[in-house]
Amino acid sequence: MKKFAAILSLVFFIAACGGGNTENNAEKAKETSTESAITESGNPSYDPNRGEGKFKDVEVSPNLDVKLADAGEKVYSVKCSGCHKLSDEKLVGPGWAGVTLRHKPEWIMNFVTNTDEMIDKDPKVQAQLEICLVRMPNQGLTDQDARDVYEFMRKNDGVK
């Protein structure tokens, strides 16, 4: 499985070199997702804005929920900080600065709880994999953990 993961990473890499350009794929996915057409990943209903997983509509208030953000920081420290810095600097994975501006809360929370499926389907994640070459592990976050971490990301992005 470990080797399989590594090989899979390579496969993505090779696929990108030999065939389509992932940016184009991403564009295509955006255009067609609402019409349930078949995307490059072969999934007719994949929504690249929401991602895939159990989160559909996450309610986020304009102000920071400090309680959630503090809980999220604890999860970050145990399960995320090994690979992600809070600045924009890449460690194993990309730094978190600005992540809540780049992705919807649903996308982030689906990605951290349904990691493998998103890596296999999401064009943006696949583009990241070509850069990082390490498949993000599923770190076993609960739904609440995911929400807390999202709030901590907002705090990191300056929400007060």
Partner: protein, 670 residues
């Protein structure tokens, strides 16, 4: 071990084989039908139908195979150290191998027994016996790891073990080599066996919730060799049956001197009565010393406790506790059919197989239908206990399993075959060759109340000419037969690890969905855990240095450590921060005199390292974990004793010094 026992048998077998060479199939082709391959083919990505737990014999380990494919899924370290997994080398697992003799790094695992509820396999635990330094192990089938090892006092050669009662109330440990009890002066002449040596049978209780084992009581029995055993079931639940050989009580050249009696015994024990006597306070406390070793899944650490007392019951003092049933000749296997009515004794030197009836035994006991006594234990008349004999089954009967359709299957060591016979009328129905010298055999659930009579596996001692030669030492083998029809059909033949003795199998569904995928980091209670890189540190306590290190794809934290000195003992406490299935990380450091570690996701494991020289020591992850696995490494700097190099540690911040720093002085030139 069996090879030694059976040299004489093998000689006579060879004579017979030479005489009957026409009977032996010339090659596998003559024994295998053309559809065999399709019956064992499990397509890539598909699962096997059964888990098969196979004893490793002198390897000391337990192997797990899939059936019908014969694919090796796992080798679980039990009684023997395993440097690959750090078993017996990591600080956390060392206590598992502790005994009253100290740390014993090896044993001889002969028999396995899956836990049962109502006589059916429940898939919670599998037990294994340590034959040499008497022990019983419990393996947890959610983690496939050894969870507990219990040493047995007053015992030598724990062979008649670890057979269980039908609700796993007790695991049994009967001593093969009788010895003087541990609390008396054992410095006695060996030839005073009859006077000074005792056989013991330990009843080990199993906690219904957590599986924890304790010696409930020991039965003190005459000095004989207890070989194998099985519990009664259904109607005979409450009784246990033990085969005994060396009723001659020989202490030398047993090959001859323990083979003199025409009949030895199967000993029937009323364990419900023993339990009652213990409740009434009849147990005698005896001072002993034995280790109880348990692995705690939350601290990921084993603890060894030395215990100092057991309760014993002398079976001679309590009429009704035990009866002897004569059984020809040096009985080995002692197997009870699914109904609990029939007890099959396999006299390994006998030319027939006696089958005893539980009802008849009960009648004989009620009528005191005895032919005498053996060391004060009543001996029931052979004919009064006998259901009947299987005539001319083959040579060297050893073990019997059942298919749940009224048939029994007995392994024949000397004539290298499996013989199928009908329990009701004792007629031989079919026989198939094995290649060669079959010992144990097994049918999934074949000793339980609900066998699954689809397959049978024979475990062979000799494989000469079966596989490509590998020098003087050859593997043992397993042979899979389809027994669903009237005729047994050989399907597959594959090598095993160590020497397989008994094995058991169960439908995969009973176990599969309970399998743990990783340990939750939140629940990790290891005293040296680092929950996240923020908690990593290096702490010096005198000459002991504790490194709280984390691993995640793909770096060690810390990965640069300086300030270690000659004379230090360094403990690397490695926490794997991953929280996904199948992402172990390894850890190894140059010059370590013990082993590597394989750390499962969410687990903390410790490697002790004593640097022996000044210099730079690389360390790295040994388990290919990601595309950047080769980068997952670091350095430890070791300075001379008394050096002032400060203790510092980091990951990613120890940037190259200007001009490459001070040049290395070449100490070889003067």
């Amino acid at each position: 071990m069996k090879r030694i026992n059976y040299h004489a048998l093998m000689l006579s077998a060879m004579a017979i084989i030479i005489g009957m060479s026409a009977c032996k199939p010339k090659n596998a082709g003559t024994a295998v039908n053309s559809d065999a391959a399709s019956k064992v083919y499990v397509a890539p990505g598909k699962y096997d139908e059964f888990y098969n737990f196979v004893s490793g014999g002198f390897s000391g380990q337990l192997s797990v195979y899939g059936l019908p494919s014969g694919r090796l899924l796992r080798v679980i370290p039990v009684f023997s150290v395993d440097p690959e997994k750090g078993w017996g080398y990591s600080e956390e697992t060392k206590p598992m191998l502790m005994t009253s003799h100290g740390e014993v790094p090896w044993d001889d695992l002969h028999h396995v027994q899956l836990s049962q509820t109502n006589g059916e396999i429940d898939g919670r635990w599998v037990f294994g016996n340590g034959n040499n330094t008497p022990r019983v192990a419990r393996i947890d089938l959610t983690t496939f790891r050894t969870a507990e090892i219990l040493e047995l006092p007053n015992s030598g050669g724990n062979h008649s073990s670890p057979f269980i009662t039908e609700n796993t109330e007790y695991v049994i440990a009967g001593t093969r080599f009788s010895v003087p009890p541990d609390n008396v002066n054992g410095d006695v002449p060996i030839n005073t066996y009859k006077k000074n040596f005792k056989g013991t049978i330990s009843f080990i209780s199993v906690d219904k919730e957590n599986g924890n084992m304790d010696i409930a009581f020991q039965l003190v029995c005459p000095g004989v060799n207890f070989d194998l055993s099985h519990a009664g079931k259904g109607k005979s639940h409450g009784w246990f049956f033990f085969s005994c050989y060396n009723t001659e009580q020989a202490n030398t050249l047993l090959e001859v001197n323990a083979s003199k009696n025409d009949k030895d015994f199967i000993m029937a024990v009323n364990w419900k009565l023993a339990e009652q006597l213990i409740k009434e306070g009849k147990g005698v406390k005896q001072a002993v010393k034995y280790a109880s070793n348990r692995f705690d899944e939350k601290t990921h650490t084993a603890t060894s406790t030395m215990k100092t007392e057991v309760l014993t019951l002398d079976i001679k003092k309590y009429p009704g506790l035990a009866y002897m049933i004569p059984c020809p000749k040096s009985p080995h296997g002692c197997d009870v059919d699914p109904s609990g009515e029939f007890i099959v004794g396999s006299g390994k030197l006998a030319a027939l197989i006696p089958v005893f009836s539980f009802d008849k035994i009960q009648k004989a006991i009620a009528a005191k239908d005895f032919e005498g006594s053996y060391d004060s234990i009543p001996v029931i008349k052979y004919a009064s206990a006998l259901h009947g004999e299987v005539q001319k089954p083959g040579l060297g009967p050893l073990h019997t399993e059942f298919d749940g359709r009224g048939n029994a299957y007995t392994s024949m060591f000397v004539s290298s075959e499996v013989v199928k016979w009908s329990i009701k009328d004792l007629k031989v129905l079919d026989r198939v060759p094995t290649y060669y010298s079959v010992g144990h055999l097994m049918i999934p659930g074949g000793d339980s109340r609900k066998p699954n009579g689809k397959y049978l596996v024979a475990y062979n001692k000799i494989t000469k000419d079966r596989y490509l030669p590998t020098g003087p030492e050859l593997s043992q083998s397993a042979q899979l037969y389809d027994i669903s029809g009237d005729k047994m059909q050989l399907l597959l033949d594959y090598p095993t690890i160590g020497e397989p003795h008994y094995a058991q199998a169960v439908a995969a569904d009973v176990i599969r969905n309970k399998s743990v995928k990783f340990f939750k980091i939140e629940e990790n209670k290891h005293p040296y855990v680092a929950k996240g890189e923020a908690e990593t540190k290096v702490v010096r306590e005198g000459n002991k240095v504790h490194v709280y290190m984390t691993e995640i794809r793909s770096h060690l934290t810390p990965d640069n450590i300086e300030g270690i000195r000659i004379g230090d003992e360094v403990y690397f406490h490695i926490t794997n921060l991953e929280q996904d299935w199948d992402v172990p990380h390894g850890f190894a450091i140059k010059g370590a005199l013990n082993a590597e570690l394989l750390v499962m996701p969410g687990e903390t494991t410790t490697l002790k390292w004593i640097p022996d020289r000044v210099g730079i020591f690389p360390m790295y992850c040994t388990d290919f974990c990601s595309a950047l696995h080769q980068e997952m490494s670091g350095y430890v700097r070791v300075s001379p004793a008394g050096s002032n190099v400060p203790l510092v540690y980091s990951t990613g911040t120890n940037m190259p010094a200007d001009n490459g720093g001070a040049a290395v002085k070449d100490s070889t030139k003067k």
